[in-house]
């Protein structure tokens, strides 16, 4: 028996080492939660488009790196005029689109002019609003003139909405994307997966992988078995509540990184009784962030007390302003004339942080006498009812855009919040370029929002990536919503 076992073990070992001696794997199946509606990053807001194509198929003049830094991409280098209005980009030469056509300065002019044209369907036209003109100096040089200096211009050009497309293929990119990146599009099996393959004539450092399939796996329920059975080897955006099943399994790596997603219990500030500061403060006191983070993000979220990422230099910790205090919450409601409590609705979009967090928050607010009716909605309904028509009391959503504290000053934003003092701070911030002063202003802004208890500040959404332990090169953090696989490889 023992002999038989050792023979078997030897055989297994031989087999294992035999396969290890072969070349490393060069294919990857990567799970994404949502299917992109089409494949043109310059014509849609859906994050799912960038999650497949950004940096892999399409490239911009600049790009955003793994930690949110601006890196050169198709632009080799640039110079900025002293008044900050004229950017001159030096382009890489010898770059070809996947259909064989050459890339040069004319493509840059075409792409930027197309994105900012009046009939453009670019979802982020605001990124290009500062551009006055785009001029081709020579095939390898482009000059962009701005109407006024803009500190974030190079960052803006790194967005997926600002990638460079060719006039020959721009109209068909939705179905058959043609870019300049290290991967080219091969196939889209609708409802199932999108396959990219390595591009043979890439201008820069070629990709390690020969083939990458982006498979659509809609929820954690399906993602866990897909991972455990080896069908899918990486989920860069994994739902935190599925992590419990993967943790402790040596075959996988669980990587918790940061996002720019402030997860909020948004409050309709104009709708009674939420127009009363005391009611909003009572809600803030009623929230037990620890329980919410444990239940809705498997304990992985970082608590926040205002609208700023804890990773930011301007962050101040305001989580102590409203500690979990049921008695205090009840007292405030009494002062507001609502000692018998009241009823309200809580509309929840599909992500698990909202659906799970909503149940916990409903239970916590019930403790202080606020009876919430939970209404789950699809994204379409959420955008329509909550975001556009502002027909809601409370909702939970993560605001994933970076540095977006200014949304609280927008006159028509769905929070229905208005505070002239806050608006002044933001106005000053817009025209301030001194770093120290900017941080000071940002801190002031955070404090005002916390004092006004505009919304319930919950936690910074964690980015949970789960992938095969032998894979390297995937992003840990999510400064932008993308799956850059240009540096991904298998290690043995």
């Amino acid at each position: 028996m023992t002999l038989w076992k050792s023979v078997l073990a030897a055989a297994v070992l031989a087999l294992a080492s035999g396969s290890a001696a072969l070349a490393a794997r060069t294919d990857l199946v990567l799970g994404i939660p949502l299917e992109p509606p089409h494949l043109d990053p310059t014509a849609g807001a859906a994050a799912a488009i960038d999650e497949v194509l950004y940096a892999n198929v399409f490239e911009g003049l600049t790009r955003i790196g793994p930690n949110g830094e601006v890196l050169p991409d198709l632009a080799e280098s640039w110079t900025i005029s002293d008044d900050g209005k004229v950017y001159t980009f030096k382009l890489h030469t010898g770059v070809k689109f996947h259909d064989g056509t050459d890339f040069d300065a004319n493509d840059v002019k075409f792409s930027l002019d197309r994105a900012r044209a009046p009939d453009s369907v670019n979802a982020q036209k605001g990124l290009f609003a500062a551009i006055d003109s785009v001029d081709v100096v020579d095939p390898a040089t482009v000059k962009v003139t701005l109407k006024n200096p803009q500190g974030s211009f190079l960052y803006n050009l790194g967005w997926g909405d600002a990638v460079i497309v060719a006039p020959e293929s721009a109209d068909t990119n939705k179905e058959k994307p043609i870019g300049t990146g290290p991967f080219k599009f091969q196939n889209w099996a609708k409802g199932s997966s999108i396959t990219l393959v390595k591009s043979d004539n890439y201008w820069g450092q070629p990709a390690y992988l020969d083939k990458a399939e982006f498979r659509i796996v809609p929820d954690a329920a399906a993602a866990v078995p897909a991972l455990l059975s080896g069908d899918v080897q990486a989920f860069p955006f994994f739902q935190p509540d599925g992590v419990a099943q993967i943790e402790g399994d040596p075959r996988f790596k669980v990587v918790v990184g940061s996002t720019e997603g402030e997860t909020l219990l948004s409050i309709n500030n104009k709708k009674p009784p939420f127009d009363q500061l005391k009611v909003r403060q009572a809600i803030s006191y009623a929230l037990d962030r620890k329980a919410i983070i444990d239940g809705a993000s498997n304990g992985l979220g970082v608590p926040i007390g205002s609208h700023q990422s804890p990773a930011s230099k301007a962050y101040i910790d305001l989580t102590g302003e409203y500690p979990h205090d049921v008695a205090k919450a009840k007292e405030l409601l009494k002062e507001a004339g609502l000692e018998n409590g009241f009823k309200a609705t809580l509309k929840l979009p599909p992500p698990s942080y909202a659906r799970l967090g909503g149940e916990i928050i409903a239970s916590e607010l019930r403790e202080v006498g606020i009876d919430l009716e939970i209404i789950p909605v699809e994204w379409a309904q959420w955008l329509d009812q909550v975001f556009t028509k502002k027909d809601y009391d409370l909702t939970i959503v993560s605001h994933t855009e970076p540095n977006d504290i200014a949304i609280y000053s927008r006159p028509d934003y769905y929070f229905n919040y208005q505070n002239p003092k806050f608006n002044e701070v933001i106005k000053e911030l817009d025209v301030t370029s001194d770093e120290a002063k900017r941080i000071e202003l940002l801190k002031q802004a955070q404090k005002i929002l916390a004092d006004d208890a505009v919304v319930g500040f919950l936690f910074e959404l964690p980015k949970v990536g789960v992938w095969d332990a032998k894979l390297s090169g995937l992003w840990e953090n999510a400064p932008i919503q993308a799956n850059d696989i240009t540096k991904v490889k298998w290690n043995d």
């Binding site: 299917e35 509606p37 089409h38 849609g44 807001a45 859906a46 009939d119 369907v121 979802a123 982020q124 605001g126 939705k174 179905e175 099996a189 609708k190 409802g191 199932s192 997966s193 498979r215 659509i216 796996v217 809609p218 329920a221 399906a222 078995p225 897909a226 455990l228 059975s229 080896g230 069908d231 899918v232 599909p350 699809e378 994204w379 379409a380 309904q381 955008l383 329509d384 009812q385 975001f387 556009t388």
Partner: protein, 315 residues
């Protein structure tokens, strides 16, 4: 016979037209603007309006119905809002998953159910009958998605024999594609097999109690021979009827199972399309399934008439 046939056809056609009106009307009142969804949170009102008119969402209701229904007649289902491809292409892509799945499930259920039903009928009242029918009772009561969960954890996660979900695609070869359909087909087939086994047994017993069978028995024909030679053939009609209805049910009933296994079939397409407010896709797929049900019912009706002339004369 011709009159009966014509009448059935006319009725089917009227049902189809009424059904199309119902589907169109119901989906017209869906809340949520597809244009807003496609453009996302940051799009301006003008951009949304531009897209609405491009998609023809601002035309009058009756015009849009006629346009849509007219298109259906020559298999033009329109273009999907979200995928911006013809709906027919989507349906074709998804149909090659759902149709084989339903067929495999039906085949599996038949292969399980008919022998069990035969065995039970031949052993009526014995322990074997009790066990088989007890198992069938349990089978009818099991929700297929729960059964699917248990199957996934047993055969995909634990034993790793088959994929946990997803569809390899027919392009990857017959075997990998079939492998990804095995578990969903089993999950779908089990409750159907339980129903079919009960129907088979019941139909056999009913035939066996007919006078001519008794006569055959009285003349000394062995029970098994009677069962095979007379009973099975005559019991086939109710069994086939149930199978026809089950196939229609399976085609539509794959919705939940396709979600459990994230198979890119018609059911998943409908659920996704509802979430994305891609109305034209929902309309078309529901209409197709309704048409399939009507067609199957028609065939069942007609085959009844062929076998049982009494039905014809009564109409």
């Amino acid at each position: 016979m011709t009159a009966y046939l014509l009448k059935r056809l006319v009725i089917a056609a009227i049902t189809l037209v009424l059904a199309s009106m119902v589907v169109f009307a119901v989906l017209e009142i869906v809340p949520g603007d597809p244009a807003r969804l496609m453009l996302g949170m940051n799009a301006s009102a003008e951009q949304v309006e531009l897209l609405r008119s491009q998609l023809g969402l601002n035309d009058p209701l009756a015009l849009r119905y006629l346009h849509w229904a007219g298109g259906l007649l020559h298999l033009d289902f329109g273009r999907s809002y979200t995928y911006s491809v013809p709906v027919l292409d989507l349906v074709r892509e998804r149909g090659v998953v759902s149709l084989p799945l339903a067929l495999i499930a039906l085949a599996l259920s038949t292969v399980i159910a008919i022998p069990v039903g035969l065995y039970s009928a031949s052993r009526r009242g014995h322990a074997g009958d009790a066990v088989a029918m007890g198992a069938a009772q349990v089978g009818v009561a099991v929700p297929n998605f729960w059964f699917a969960l248990l199957l996934i954890y047993c055969f995909a996660v634990w034993l790793r024999w088959v994929p946990a979900g997803g569809f390899a695609g027919w392009g990857a070869g017959i075997w990998p594609a079939l492998k990804s359909l095995i578990l969903p087909a089993i999950a779908l087939a089990l409750p159907q097999a339980a129903i079919l086994a009960r129907v088979t047994r019941q139909a056999l017993l009913e035939v066996l109690s007919e006078d001519y069978i008794r006569t055959a028995r009285a003349k000394g024909m062995p029970y098994r021979a009677v069962l095979w030679r007379h009973a099975l053939r005559n019991a086939l009609i109710p069994v086939l009827t149930i199978m026809g209805l089950q196939f229609a049910f399976l085609l539509a009933g794959t919705v939940i199972i396709e979600n459990v296994f994230y198979l890119p079939g018609l059911g998943r397409l409908v659920i996704q399309a509802i979430a994305q407010r891609d109305l034209i896709v929902v309309e078309s797929v529901v209409m197709l399934l309704v048409a399939a049900v009507i067609a199957i019912n028609l065939i069942v009706d007609l085959s009844y008439a062929v076998v049982d002339p009494r039905l014809r004369s009564r109409e």
